[in-house]
């Protein structure tokens, strides 16, 4: 196209403006590729003097900035949207550079650390650990007086770190596809194998699974709501203590007995040599805890 004329030659932008435009061009290049970004920014720069003549220099630069920001948003949205239903569009969840992806993996790994410390500390504090180790953990990690450790293993720190790590590292792994077929829209989700992101994402999801499983098991409690198919009444009590035949003292912090039709006593065992305890109601309506000794041969 040698016969095409070049544009008019006027004074170019200042070094600061050139630097700013260079950054804008790099942003657009990520969205639409380097060649189209060059053409778009060149066109906007060519139009800017016209705007400057009408509205002044500051307004013209503001116009240029708004065009770039608005344009970048539209370009990003249009690239994600299938074109007119004629073709299949596959889009990675990320448009990140290799450098940014490495940073995401590193940030994810660091964000997993509080949860890793909490889980490891919990395991080392269990029964099979040594007393010295348990004592050391009590003095440091699980010491409520040490603010640093308290913040480190605070639920908010642990959970937000895991969610951040999982989010940052699942995005580069996922690829979303949308295909418009007559009368329907088909979506696909594909997983790419990127070792660093996959490792960090699995670590985050695994730690989250361990913490949630532990919380569930630790707080799991079966509460009977029906006895013999029908619940007709219940009694609740506060602290009650008795001496057990073994010489130990039994203290019930709280209890609930449920009365069912045809039964006044609902026995339960406490593992103290076969003794059973139940509730019975006296004539004045007061409920009592009654221990029953083990039957011979038990």
């Amino acid at each position: 196209m040698s016969r095409r004329r070049s544009g008019p030659t006027t004074q170019g932008p200042s070094p600061t403006e050139s630097k700013w435009l260079g950054r804008a061009e790099r942003l657009l290049a990520r969205l639409v590729g380097a060649e189209l970004a060059e053409a778009i920014l060149g066109d906007l720069q060519e139009l800017r003097p016209t705007v400057e003549a009408r509205r002044g220099k500051a307004a013209s630069w503001l116009w240029l900035a708004l065009e770039i920001v608005g344009g970048a948003a539209t370009l990003a949205a249009q690239r994600l949207r299938p074109a007119g239903g004629r073709q299949e569009e596959k889009q990675s969840m990320d448009n990140w550079s290799a450098k940014f992806r490495r940073a995401a993996a590193a940030i994810g790994l660091v964000a997993c650390m509080p949860a890793a410390v909490l889980v490891t500390g919990g395991l080392l504090q269990s029964d099979w650990s040594t007393p010295a180790l348990r004592s050391a953990l009590e003095r440091t990690l699980f010491n409520p007086d040490l603010l640093g450790f308290r913040v480190l293993i605070h639920p908010a720190t642990v959970l937000s770190g895991l969610l951040l790590a999982a989010g940052l590292n699942l995005i580069p792994l996922l690829r979303v596809g949308v295909e418009r077929r007559p009368g329907t829209l088909v979506g696909t989700l594909a997983l790419r194998i990127r070792a660093a992101h996959l490792g960090v994402a699995l670590l985050a999801v695994g730690l989250l699974g361990v913490i949630l499983s532990y919380s569930f098991v630790e707080n799991y409690e079966v509460v009977p709501t029906h006895v013999d198919g029908q619940r007709s009444g219940q009694v609740e009590g506060a602290i009650m203590s008795r001496s057990l035949p073994s010489g130990e003292r039994l203290i019930l912090q709280a209890y609930t007995f449920i009365e069912s039709p045809g039964t006044e006593m609902l026995p339960f065992h406490l593992g103290d040599g076969g003794w059973r305890y139940g509730a019975t109601r006296s004539a004045d309506g007061t409920w009592h805890i009654v221990p029953t000794p083990p039957a011979r041969g038990d």
Binding site: R4, G7, P13, I40, L41, D43, E46, G71
Partner: protein, 118 residues
């Protein structure tokens, strides 16, 4: 033997962009194309509304794209010139034919009568 694929039907913005490129001839690059399309639409268009369809049509072979020389007024950036290809012309004609078929037999609508014929 499979039948040859018919030319594709263009969206309205694609049709207008291709016509603007044809009208502008040798000077069909971003700035005048956008200006012409804005004149036709009667409102301002965003950067993406013009450049994404242009790029898509260039990829589809409806347009050819070629860079011109860098210019100072553009900060040393090159213009991207577009030219209508034979495939683009066929798509325009196909779109025109379809438009005529759609409008055929509806003169009442063109005359300002809005209710459908009984």
């Amino acid at each position: 033997m499979s039948r040859p694929k018919p030319p594709e039907v263009l969206s309205r913005i694609e049709e207008i962009l291709l016509l603007a490129v044809w009208e502008l001839g040798e000077e069909a690059y971003g700035v005048p194309i956008r200006r012409r399309v804005e004149e036709l639409f009667g409102r301002r268009l965003s950067v993406g509304s013009v450049y994404v369809p242009l790029d898509r049509m260039a990829l589809a072979g409806l347009l050819s794209a070629e860079f011109g020389p860098p210019t100072a007024v553009r900060g040393g950036r090159r213009k991207r010139y577009y030219r209508l290809t034979a495939k683009g012309i066929a798509a325009l004609r196909q779109t025109r034919r379809l438009s005529r078929r759609i409008w055929a037999g509806k003169p009442a609508l063109l005359q300002g009568i809005h209710s459908p014929r009984k």
